[in-house]
Amino acid sequence: MTGFDDDDLAAVEALRSSALGAMPNPSAELVAWFAAPPLPAPATAPASSRARRLATWFGGLGLAAHVALGAGVAVASVGIAGTAELLPRPVQEAFDHVVGRGSGSTPTPDLPDRTPMAPATSGSPTDPDAPDPTGTGAPSPSAPPVPAGSGGTAGSGGTGGPAPQPTTAPTSSDHSDDNDSGSESPDGGDQESSDPGGEGSDPSGDDPTDPPEPSDDSSDGSDDPTDDPTDDPIDPEPTSDDSSDSDSSQVDPDGDATDLPEAEPLLPVGP
């Protein structure tokens, strides 16, 4: 070992010859290694360090993170496919509907649900005397053909044909494109904000344009919603035959139609 002066060699040699440098005894593990060394690790194919790091990172995530990441990837994939209009037709329509509502345009009611009631709405609460749902004062007779003719495509935005425009331009027309014109049909305005009567003007406390009530009654074969005065609170001429219907309507789980006829006899009793 060089690097030491001659004067230091004696000291270095003294230290080297001390017990400090005694040969150690190998451990049992090391003796076994000497006897039968383990086979060298086979050469693995050099994988991309980035891919390996990504796999390591993903493997280190927890179950919740795996689920969240998978859901995020699925949503992103559907979004990309929907933007490119590669989804199946029903899914694509639903996607367009959701994107149209989420893009800041005027929210549209679910028009396909409204379609079955369109032919049977001659005496429905919505048509003749109902308050204008759009609040625009547009003539309501022009309204019914629009959803009936456009069908489910009106609510789907891009797939519908040229729908009639409301008489007054919606406030959000700057942000809506042509695809959104279908969603701005006369009954497609902002119902909650433009309803002049609001919920307080409805005796049953429901929106008069709410479709489920007539559709539920129309599904019942024993009751004709157009003849039942209790179902139609605006009908001025109830007949005597309607009393049985009103009795039967008392067991109607909706209970909305029985409010007005029962309220009239109670009036004289009151103070």
Binding site: M1, G3, F4, D5, D7, D8, A10, A11, V12, A14, L15, R16, S17, S18, A19, L20, G21, A22, M23, P24, N25, P26, S27, E29, L30, W33, F34, A35, A36, P37, P38, L39, P40, A41
Partner: protein, 195 residues
């Protein structure tokens, strides 16, 4: 393969799984690692040295370099193991029963004085006057046969600082050796009746 086999061939044979190559590597370098462990006061220097070699042998496939680099690799692993050993002992203080034969608090006998240079007590005396840093530098330089720059790298110090530590350590060691030699000579003179 024998003791004169070049390091490169030895390393290649060890990578190919030849047991004799591992044995030769152990015989060539284990003494320095054990000396380093003893100078640091390791509890089980032989066991620690074996652990160091097992760790080095396991990662022999990834090692790239010459013999000097291999020495540096070996003593770097040894130093880390020693640091772990010191921490472990601090967490769990060693408790041992008193043994009169192991108790060093006594005067050396005549036999020990005669045989002193090769004994453990002699090594301990040589290192007693050194600071831990000086001890590390000397052991790595003498037993590890490492150049100054590699000692500096292992200890995390500048090369100039290592050189200064070595200089002071050698001065202290020289004094200790000469003093002990003088004492030894005095003892012999007294036994022979010389003034």
């Amino acid at each position: 393969m024998n003791d004169l086999t070049p390091f490169g061939d030895l390393l290649e044979a060890a990578r190919d799984g030849h047991g004799q190559a591992f044995t030769l590597l152990w015989q060539r370098y284990a003494r320095g690692v054990a000396a380093f462990a003893r100078s640091r006061g390791a509890e089980e220097p032989d066991e620690l040295t074996s652990d160091v070699f097992v760790a080095v042998f396991r990662s022999l496939g990834e090692f790239v370099g010459d013999e000097t680099a291999f020495r540096g690799f070996l003593f770097t692993v040894a130093r880390r193991r020693l640091v772990d050993d010191v921490r472990r002992r601090r967490r769990r203080p060693l408790t041992a029963t008193w043994d009169s034969r192991a108790d060093q608090r006594r005067a050396a006998s005549a036999e020990e004085v005669v045989m002193g240079l090769g004994s453990e007590s002699r090594a301990r005396d040589l290192l007693a006057g050194l600071t831990p840093d000086q001890r590390d530098v000397l052991v790595l330089r003498i037993f590890g046969e490492l150049p100054l720059e590699q000692v500096a790298a292992i200890l995390g110090k500048r090369q100039g600082a290592v050189k200064a530590l070595q200089h002071r350590a050698l001065a202290t060691l020289r004094r200790t050796v000469f003093d002990s030699t003088d004492d030894h000579t005095d003892d012999h003179d007294q036994e022979r009746g010389r003034p």
